[in-house]
Structures are given as structure tokens and as C-alpha cells.
Amino acid sequence: MNKPRIAVHKFSSCDGCQLTFLNLGEALLQLNEQVEILHFLEAGMSDAETEVDIAFVEGSLSTPNELERIQQVRANSRYLVSIGACATSGGLQALRNLEGQHDNWRDAIYARPEFIQTLKEVQPIAAAVQVDLELWGCPVSSAQILAAIRALLFDVAPIDDRDRVCLECKRQQAVCVLVTGAAPCMGPVTRTGCGALCPRFGRACYGCYGPSETPQTDTLAQRFAGFGLLPDAIARRFLLINSQAPAFLHTGKVFYHSGTGDQDD
């Protein structure tokens, strides 16, 4: 029996989602019995141009070269899975889209900006090619990765759980930080997958898994305002790791630079 062929590609990112593979521990060796890993630079496999059954793509698109490379990855893979916030929504680095200051920043920072080839806007993978499955999260969890691989090995579509963090928070019997401490928790609009990590650690969710299904972001933002958060502070809640996810972007922009109450005039 032929083992399914797998590749792990990196685009603009922090490597954290790839590390999810390397952090699998012994499951990594077990995984190797089930699949053939052909390209995964960090783990030492280099064969970027080979055809694979499943390509995992980490990172966002931020250079012209990356735009070309993703086309090739798409063409070479039967099933393309984007992993992590960078790949699914642009990630933290997509914050630069907000200011539209790319050229200025680049020129100011680099002595030789002509060598820096970057796109004006950071894009998620799905902006350039068709993506078969998106695994959200910053970073993705190993449970998500393994479940996706297992489903694909059974030749079925992996489950896309879009429920919100709140449901998991209650399953975990964590105490709601919003209700007990008026903390601006993003749990009610954030997709589950992390196991309600932040509330379990007594802090407000900061939305690292991106928007859930039917995210009532405007309603939640109003609630934050009720807690006394200033518009910019509300905007910062939505415009962080998944700032380019439409639901977060929409609400974030409503409050972004809309006045902090202490303007000069």
C-alpha cells in the first residue's frame, strides 16, 4: 500500500505551527509510519517541487516570490491545508495592511530597500489559491493537525469545528472572566480549538483562533464599551492576531482611530 505523501511548506511566519509537528513527540514517529513526509525543511526533508497528497502550508503571503511559490504548491498537491493564523487570515504581520504604510516602513528600516521585495499587503493563502481546509489558531494545536491527518487518511473531510470558545470554556468548568471581572474576553466570538486556554488561566481570550461561526462582534464590542474600554482599546482587541478575518476587521475598523476621547481639539 502506498503511504500518502505529505509536505510542510513555510511562508511568512514564526515557525510555531510547523513546530506543532516537531512537538508531536513519539506521535511524530508514528505519523511517519502512516505517511511519507517528503518536504519539511525544518525537519530536514527538502523536495519542494514534488507532488504530494497533502500539503500543509504555514505562513502568509508577503512577497512576490511567495505568490509564485504558493501556486506551485497548489499545483503539486491534491489537498491543501492552511495551518495557523498567518496562513488563514494573514496573522499578526497582516496588521501592516491597516496602516498602508508598507513602503514608508520598508524604506525607513532598510538601508537598501531595493533588495526588499515585499507585497504591499499581507495575504492569507486562500487569497491566492484554493484551500481545501483551514486550521485556525495561533498556533494550531497538535490535536487539530492529527485529527486532520487522520480524517484524510480515512479519505474523509476533516471536521471543521467553528463553535465558540465559550462552549468549551464551560465544558472545561473554567470561571468566566468577563462575568466575574469585566475582562474584555473575546471567547464569545472566537473559534474553539485551544481548549479555552486563556479563561482557564484566568485571563481574557485574545482571539488567537479567529472568528467563530455567526460571530456577534459588534454586540461584544458594545459590551466592552460598557465596561469602559475606549474605542482604540476595543479596536485593539479585534485587530490583533486575526485582524484580517472579515468579522474582526469589520468591528475593529468601526472603533479604530475613531477617537480616544483625549484628542487635542
Binding site: 514517529l29 525543511l41 525544518e42 530536514g44 519542494a48
Partner: protein
């Protein structure tokens, strides 16, 4: 020697964190061209920090690097908390060290087993190596897993942990979880000792060279999460003096900046730390040094592998020591008020010195940030090393051998290229 021209292009370096490439050309027995370039696209992190609240910094900087998020969080906290008149207190200080030990453990174990060992045992990668050396690989994965568990204890997850905050932690571990982890740490001690011995028996190349070592030093302990900066040239600096001696420049074919110490390349990381602080190793590690016959300071970069193994033993022992009498605190953090101003902070990331500076305004928002990660600091050293070692190795070696040696040299530094791309600051302009 006959006239010969070799061009080696490693378009994508494997088994390093992040992406970089190596180009080298040998002409007539001379290294004609040598370039390690980093083409991680710039991510402008320092820019995103502007206008953010101090509280948000730890969650943002963690994402500069998935391999050493704890280091980023700790350097940032050191910098920001320097703007307060209070300190987070003893419990927090100790537990931060444990948290950091977890990162050293996971990162070093990952580096040794998944990135470096295949070079020395003759495999393309660790997975292939696992077929012949299953026990060694499993041991490595277990040590790495243990490091992750330690990070999770305080951070919930090992990549981009959520536990750290200004003044301490969001959450204190339960005593029973701590007890369980101590037991695993104790069990791992003999594995770690075996690992050091195993590494010491490897036929590592002899390659003495001279370089400046730079590392943090602390009077009470082997510096990890805090300390003052020391150089093998005898300088001792506090974090705010860093910029007087260390400068960054932009190299055209790279998105990374290069750092120098008064114009010279220098080394940071495990070997530099060991060179400067070996006298602070606990007695059992002094014995281990004797046992394996390693004398310090050491000028062979290939010994970095052993330095990592020794540091693995060290952090396991440290974590056990610090957790032994664990008490659940009344509060896992001390509320701190930060004053406006410039805060400087540093700590020892697994692969070397990590320096941060933040300017905070009176609304508690970040006005400017500057971050200098280890890889940019080692970059000049790596090129100097490549020059030297390849020449010493013999440029008449065949292409494969040269390439392998070059890659080994690079891996000695465990460069983390993903972090190597955001230390882009406006100040650079002024220096140019």
C-alpha cells in the same frame, strides 16, 4: 593545485528554524564568494508594537518566534518592568526561571536530536535516523516533550504560551501538577546525563578558532532569565548600555540585519554562556565536565552540541531545585505601575542573547520598540566561521563534503531565522 571552480548553492537550508540559503564559490582554492542570506520576509513587528498597551506586548512578541516565545516574553517583561519601582517578587522570579528552563530544555533537545545529530550520524533527517537509532531519538523526543510540559505548566501551551503577564503570571500551577512534573524531571536526569555522554563520544571535528563570547552573567546563578551582559573581552554592561557597543547594519542580499560588537563579530549562545559562566555550574556538572574531558573556556564551535547537552542537564536540575518546595502563592502576580520612559531588558534565549527596548508614553502605550535577537548577533560570526572552518577543512574537498561541513557550521549556531527578520528599526537609518 589544479584550477577548480566549485559553486555551492543551498537554496533552502534544512534543519534550521526559518528559511535561509547559503551560496559559496571556491575558485582556485580560494573562497571567492560566501553568502548566508536570510530571506524571511520582514514582518515589521516593532512597528505593530507602537500604540499597543504594555500589557499586550507579551502576546505580540511571543509571535516573533515560535521556537523561543518564552525568551521573547521574558526579555520584554524585563524591559517593561524596569519602568516600575516595584519588582514582581521572589516567587515570580523563581517561577519565571523554571518557565524559561522549560524552553531551554525543549529547544536544546529539539536542536540536538532533530536538527544536529543527523549530521554527525550520517542521516538526512531525524526520522530516517530513528530507524537506526530509535532509542536515542525517542530519548530526545521525550526530553523535548518534558520541556514542553514545563512550559505548559505556566503557559498552557508550549508555543505562544498564554500564562506570562506583567508582574508575574496569570495563573499559578496546582501543587499536584507540579509534583507530577518533578517526578518526570527526576526520571529524566539519567537520560540527560546519558545524552551528554553520548554527545561527548561523537567524533566532533577539531576546529579551534578565536572569537569573542558574549553572554549574560548573574552573581547568584547561571544566567538564564536575567543578568548583566559580559564579554570575554572583560566588559560588563547593563541592558541600557547595550546600544553603546552593539550596532546593526543591513546587508543587501538579506532581509536580516547584522549585529557587531564595537565593529567585531561575536558569539552568543550556549558555548558563549558556558565559556563565561562555567564556574557557576553545579558540582555534578563540574564532575561531568571532568568525566567527558571538556575544558573551558572552549574555542571549538562544534562543542556547542555538548554545551547544549550540558545546559539540558542544568535546566532539569534547576527546575527540580526551584519546584521542590513549591507553594501555591496567594497571587501569581504583583500589580505593577509603569512609568513613562525607556525600558531595557535582556535574557538568554536558548540560542543566545535577546535584547529589548521599549519607550512607553504616559498613557501606558508603546511609542517605540527595538528588539535584537540572537540570530542577528551571530550572523557575522557565522560568516567568519564559515570562512575559517571551510578553509581549515580543505577547500579541495568535494562538493558534498564542503556543503555538509558548511551546513554543520551553520547549525552549530542553531540559527533561528524566523526571528532574524523583524529587528528592523528606524535607528538603523541614522547609523548608515
Amino acid at each position: 593545485m589544479t584550477s577548480r571552480r566549485i559553486r555551492i548553492d543551498v537554496p533552502a537550508l534544512t534543519r534550521v528554524e526559518g528559511e535561509g540559503s547559503l551560496r559559496l564559490e571556491v575558485r582556485d582554492g580560494q573562497l571567492h564568494e560566501l553568502g548566508l542570506s536570510i530571506f524571511e520576509p520582514p514582518r515589521f513587528f516593532e512597528k505593530f508594537l507602537e500604540g499597543r498597551e504594555a500589557e499586550e506586548v507579551v502576546d505580540i512578541v511571543a509571535r516573533i518566534c515560535g521556537i523561543c516565545p518564552v525568551a521573547y516574553q521574558m526579555s520584554a517583561l524585563n524591559a517593561l518592568e524596569s519602568l516600575s519601582n516595584d519588582s514582581p517578587g521572589h516567587w515570580v522570579q523563581q517561577m519565571r526561571r523554571v518557565f524559561y528552563c522549560g524552553e531551554w530544555l525543549q529547544s536544546h533537545a529539539l536542536h540536538i536530536h532533530l536538527l544536529a545529530l543527523p549530521d554527525f550520524l550520517g542521516f538526512d533527517n531525524a526520522i530516517a535516523m530513528a530507524e537506526r537509532h530509535p532509542n536515542e531519538v525517542k530519548r530526545g523526543l521525550q526530553l523535548q516533550g518534558l520541556g514542553n510540559s514545563l512550559i505548559r505548566l505556566f503557559g498552557g501551551r508550549s508555543v505562544h504560551p498564554v500564562g506570562a503577564r506583567l508582574g508575574g503570571f496569570h495563573h499559578a500551577p496546582e501543587a499536584e501538577d507540579v509534583r507530577a512534573l518533578i517526578a518526570s524531571l527526576q526520571q529524566a536526569q539519567s537520560d540527560a546525563a546519558d545524552l551528554t555522554r553520548f554527545c561527548a563520544r561523537l567524533p566532533l571535528p577539531e576546529d579551534p578558532q578565536t572569537f569573542i563570547s558574549v553572554a549574560l552573567h548573574h552573581t547568584d546563578c547561571y544566567a538564564i532569565e536575567r543578568g548583566t551582559l559580559r564579554t570575554s573581552t572583560g566588559l560588563e554592561l547593563t541592558a541600557d548600555q547595550f546600544e553603546q557597543h552593539f550596532h546593526e547594519t543591513h546587508k543587501p542580499d538579506s532581509t536580516a540585519l547584522w549585529s557587531d560588537f564595537n565593529g567585531e563579530p561575536y558569539l552568543t549562545g550556549p558555548l558563549a554562556r558556558l565559556n563565561l559562566n562555567y564556574s557557576q555550574l553545579p558540582p555534578f556538572l563540574q564532575q561531568r565536565l571532568n568525566e567527558i574531558g571538556l575544558s573551558l573556556p572552549c574555542n571549538n564551535m562544534f562543542m556547542s552540541l555538548i554545551a547544549r547537552a550540558l545546559e539540558i542537564e542544568l535546566v532539569i536540575a534547576e527546575a527540580i531545585r526551584l519546584l521542590q518546595d513549591y507553594m501555591h502563592p496567594a497571587s501569581p502576580f504583583t500589580p505593577l505601575t509603569l512609568q513613562a520612559g525607556s525600558g531595557y531588558g535582556m535574557s538568554e534565549a536558548p540560542r543566545g542573547l535577546l535584547w529589548h527596548r521599549y519607550e512607553l508614553d504616559d498613557k501606558g502605550l508603546i511609542q517605540a520598540a527595538r528588539i535584537v535577537p540572537p540570530t542577528s548577533q551571530n550572523q557575522a560570526r557565522i560568516e567568519a566561521d564559515l570562512h575559517r572552518s571551510l578553509t581549515a577543512f580543505g577547500l579541495d574537498n568535494d562538493e558534498d563534503a564542503l556543503r555538509l561541513r558548511a551546513e554543520q557550521v551553520i547549525r552549530n549556531y542553531d540559527p533561528c531565522i524566523s526571528c532574524a527578520t523583524h529587528f528592523l528599526t528606524l535607528e538603523k537609518q541614522e547609523i548608515e
